[in-house]
C-alpha cells in the first residue's frame, strides 16, 4: 500500500493513502476535537469542529473528511483554527439549553468538554431556541431533542450498527430534527431499543432512563463483564454506585460487540433487583415454603441426599447444571455430582 508522508503540527507522519487527516493526527497522538465523527460510523463531516489549517488551502477543511495528500502541512491548533472552533461552539450553544447543572450527561458531555477547552463562556448570539420537550414515555431511552446538536451519530448508529434505519433527519433548516418515521415516539416506531444511539450520543439528547437522577457519570465504578443473555457473548460495563448497579454502558473496541448491544443486554439487567429475587433459603414444611438459614438448608440437603444415596444407591440421584451459570459453577456442580454422589447423572439444557 502507498504510504504518504505529511507534517502535522511540525511532526512527520507516514500513513497509508486514503487515511483522513484526522486519523493521521490520531496516529501521531494528536486528538482533533470532533462531535459528529466516529471511527465505527461512516464519515459525515457535519459539525465542522474538526477543522484544521492546511498550508496552501484557502479554507479550513474538516479533517474527518479530508484525505491526506503527499507533502501536506497541517496545523491542528493554530489561531485561525481555534477561533473557528470557538465560533462553531458558540453557535451550537446559542440553541442549546444551559441546564448543565442538572443535565444527566454532566461530566461525560463532549459539547461541554470542548466549550471548556476553547473557553466558551458567553454566547454572543441570541435567537430562536427549540422547545420540543422531553420524550420519556418508554422505560429505556430518554430523548431530549432540545439538546440535540444534529451530529447525526444516532442516525448512523441505527442504520449502520443495528441496521434498523429507524431514525433520520426530518424537516428543514432551523426545524431540522432527528425523528422516527412520521416523527412518532420511539415506542410507536420500529425501535428495538438496542440503545446504540444512546451509546454514541455526544450530548444529553439521548440518555438511559434507568440512570436518570441516580448518579453522576464520574461517580460510577465501571465493571467490565460479559452479558448473561444469549450465546453471542457481548461485553459491557456494569455501572455501580455505592454498591448498586445504576446501568449498563458500552465502549468501543473489544472482540465481540464494540458498543453494540440489544435491549436485553443494555436494559434487561434490572432483573437483578426484581423484588421477586430469593435472598434466603426456603425449606418446605407441611407443604409450605418456610424461610430458613443457609446452615439449616444445607444440613437438610446433605442429610437427605446422604440417606437417599445410602438407601437406593448413587443412580437414584441426578443433577441439572445450568447453561446460564459460569464455567466455574458448572465445573463444581459436575465435580460434586461425580465425587460426592458417585454418579454421572449430570446434564443441562444443551440439547433443549
Amino acid at each position: 500500500m502507498d504510504l504518504i508522508r505529511i507534517k502535522i503540527d511540525g511532526r512527520d507522519v507516514e500513513v497509508p493513502a486514503g487515511t483522513t487527516v484526522l486519523e493521521a493526527a490520531e496516529q501521531a497522538g494528536i486528538h482533533i476535537p470532533r462531535l459528529c465523527h466516529d471511527p465505527e460510523l461512516s464519515r459525515f463531516g457535519a459539525c465542522r469542529l474538526c477543522v484544521v489549517e492546511i498550508e496552501g488551502m484557502r479554507n479550513l477543511p474538516a479533517s474527518c473528511v479530508t484525505a491526506v495528500a503527499s507533502g501536506m502541512v497541517v496545523w491542528t491548533e493554530s489561531p485561525p483554527v481555534t477561533e473557528a472552533r470557538k465560533t462553531i461552539l458558540e453557535l451550537l450553544m446559542a440553541n442549546h439549553p444551559q441546564d448543565c447543572l442538572t443535565c444527566e450527561k454532566m461530566g461525560d458531555c463532549r459539547l461541554a468538554d470542548y466549550c471548556y477547552r476553547y473557553g466558551v463562556k458567553e454566547i454572543p448570539y441570541k435567537g430562536k431556541t427549540h422547545a420540543y420537550g422531553v420524550e420519556e414515555d418508554n422505560p429505556f431511552i430518554v430523548r431530549d431533542a432540545d439538546k440535540c446538536i444534529l451530529c447525526g451519530k444516532c442516525v448512523r448508529a441505527c442504520a449502520e450498527i443495528t441496521g434498523k434505519d429507524n431514525l433520520d433527519f426530518a424537516y428543514r433548516g432551523f426545524d431540522t430534527k432527528v425523528a422516527t418515521f412520521g416523527d412518532s415516539p420511539l415506542l410507536e416506531s420500529d425501535c428495538v431499543f438496542c440503545g446504540s444511539c444512546v451509546a454514541v450520543c455526544p450530548t444529553g439528547a439521548l440518555m438511559e432512563k434507568q440512570m436518570q437522577g441516580r448518579a453522576r457519570r464520574y461517580e460510577l465504578k465501571r465493571v467490565k463483564t460479559t452479558c448473561p443473555f444469549c450465546g453471542t457473548g457481548c461485553n459491557f460495563e456494569l455501572c455501580v454506585k455505592e454498591g448498586k448497579i445504576m446501568g449498563v454502558t458500552t465502549k468501543s473496541g473489544g472482540a465481540v460487540n464494540g458498543r453494540s448491544l440489544c435491549i436485553k443486554g443494555r436494559f434487561g439487567w434490572d432483573f437483578v433487583y426484581s423484588e421477586k429475587r430469593l435472598d434466603t433459603p426456603y425449606i418446605k414444611k407441611n407443604g409450605k415454603m418456610e424461610p430458613a438459614t443457609w446452615d439449616e438448608a444445607l444440613n437438610v440437603i446433605a442429610g437427605r441426599l446422604g440417606e437417599i444415596k445410602q438407601k437406593y444407591g448413587p443412580g437414584a440421584f441426578a443433577a441439572l447444571s445450568s447453561a446460564r451459570c459460569t464455567n466455574e459453577e458448572n465445573y463444581l456442580v459436575q465435580k460434586l455430582v461425580r465425587v460426592v454422589m458417585g454418579t454421572n447423572n449430570v446434564d443441562h439444557c444443551a440439547r433443549t
Partner: protein, 512 residues
Amino acid sequence: MFLIGTNTTEAHPVAGYKMRKAARRGAKLIVADPRRIELAEEADHWLRIQPGTDIPLLNGLMHIIIKEGLHNQSFIEERTENFEALRETVEKYTPDYVSRLTGVPVEDLYTVARLYATTDRAMLFYTLGITEHICGTNNVMSVANLAMLTGHLGRPGTGVNPIRGQNNVQGACDMGALPNVYTGYQKVTDPASRAKFEKAWGVPLPGEAGLMIPEMFEAAHHGELKAMYILGENPVLTDPDSNHIRAGLEKLEFLVVQELFMTETAEYADVVLPAASFAETDGTFTNTERRVQRVRQAIDPLPGMANWQSIMALGDRMGYPMNYRSAEEIFNEMASLTPSYAGISYARIEDKGLQWPCPSADHPGTPYLHASSFTRGKGLFQSIDHIPPAELPDREYPFLLSTGRILYHYNVTTPYSAGIQSIWSKEFAEVNPYDAERLGVESGDRVMVASRRGELTTRIGVTDRVPPGMIWMSFHYKDSPTNALTSNAVDPVTKTGEYKVCAVKMQKVAGE
C-alpha cells in the same frame, strides 16, 4: 451467508446486526425459514420451507451441486470419505421432488445451490430451527454434508456455525456438565480419562455414562430416580410436554432447586437455595465462538454467597471439603485437567478473551476449527433421508405449531426485568391472516390452543410472517406456557425435544 433455522436478529441480536451489515455491504444472504423473519426481508434469497423439511432441502441442493459438477473435488478427495454413499442418497432428491416436499420453487433451488457452491467463502449458520426436530442430529449432519461437499470449511469466513442459545451453554458443555464426559469432552467411559480425574479428585469415579435430561424425568416417573438438584434451570417452563415434567418432579422423594426466583420448578422443591446472579460473581462464560471471557463481580451477592461458594459449602457438609478461595482457583484446577483450556488463565483473558483450543500459555487461541483436519481425521459424509416430523397437522388438530424466542425476552429471566415486562408482558401467537379470517379472530383476540398433551389460552397477532396453517409462539410467559402443548417426541441421539413442530387446534375464546 446461508442461514437455516436461525432467527438471528431476535435470538442473537448483535450477531444478527452484523449479518445485516455484511449483507448490506454486498455479502449474499440466503435464508431458509418458514417464517418471514427480519433477515428474510434482507435476504437475496428467502426459501420459505415447510417446517421439518430441512433434509430434503439440503439434499436437493447437494443433488444440484453434484449434477452440475460444482462440488469441490479436491476437498472431497483430500479431506473426506464416503462421498459415493452421499451421491447415491441425494440422487433421488430431484429439484421437482424437493420442491414438492419443501414448497420452495425449483428455480430458487438452482439459484441457491449454484450461489452457495461457487462462492469463494460461504458460511452456514443454524440454531434450534435445525436441532429441535426428531431428526435434529440428521439435520446437523446434512448441514455438514453440504459444507464438506463444497469445501466451505476450515478457512476464515467459512464453516458450519451453530449459534449457541444460552450465554454459557458452550461453557457448561465444556465443563463436563454432561452425563458422558468430564471437562473438555474427555469420556467418562475412557479408563485413562477416568484415572486422571480419580487421581486429581482423590476418589473412585463411576465408569458408565449417566442419564440425559429426558431420561432423568422418565426415571423419576418409574420411581428409579429419587432425588434431584437443579441449578438455574426451569424445566417446567422450558422443557417440552411440561405436564410430563411436572408429574416426574412430583414423584421425587427429594428435590433441591437453586434459583434466582421462585420458579415453576422451584415450587416442587423440598429445599430452595437462593442463587447469585451474573453481576454478583466472578467467573467466566464461553460464548458461541468458543471465546472464554471474564464475568466480574460488580455488587455483593444478594443471597450472601456466590454460587461457587454455596456449592462448595454443600460439598463440605457432605464430607468432601473443597477449599477454593476464589473463582480463579476453580478455573485453574479445571484448566489443569482440560487440554483445550490448558493455556487459558484469568490474566490472559483480562482484556479480550481467548478461543479454545488453547493448549499452552503461549498459544494464541483458535479462531476457527478444522483448518487441516477434522476431529476424527477425515470428514465422513452421512447418507441421510427425509424423516417427517413426529406429529403433523390432521383433521382434529389442523394447525402446525412452531416455537422460538422473541427479541425482547431471554427464556425466563427477562420477565423479571421491570422495564421489559412493562411493555412485552403477554404472548401474541402469530396467526396468518387467512386462518384468522376463517376462525373469525383479529389481532389482540384471545384463542384457546390445544394439542394432544395440553391446552392454553393466548392472545394472537395476525401477521403474514407465518404461512397459512402455521401458528408460532414463544415460550417466555407463565400465563401462556407454550410447552404444555409441545410434542414429547425427541431426537433419538440427543434426546432434544421436537419444539419446532406439533399439531394443535385453535378456537376463539369469548370475552377479555
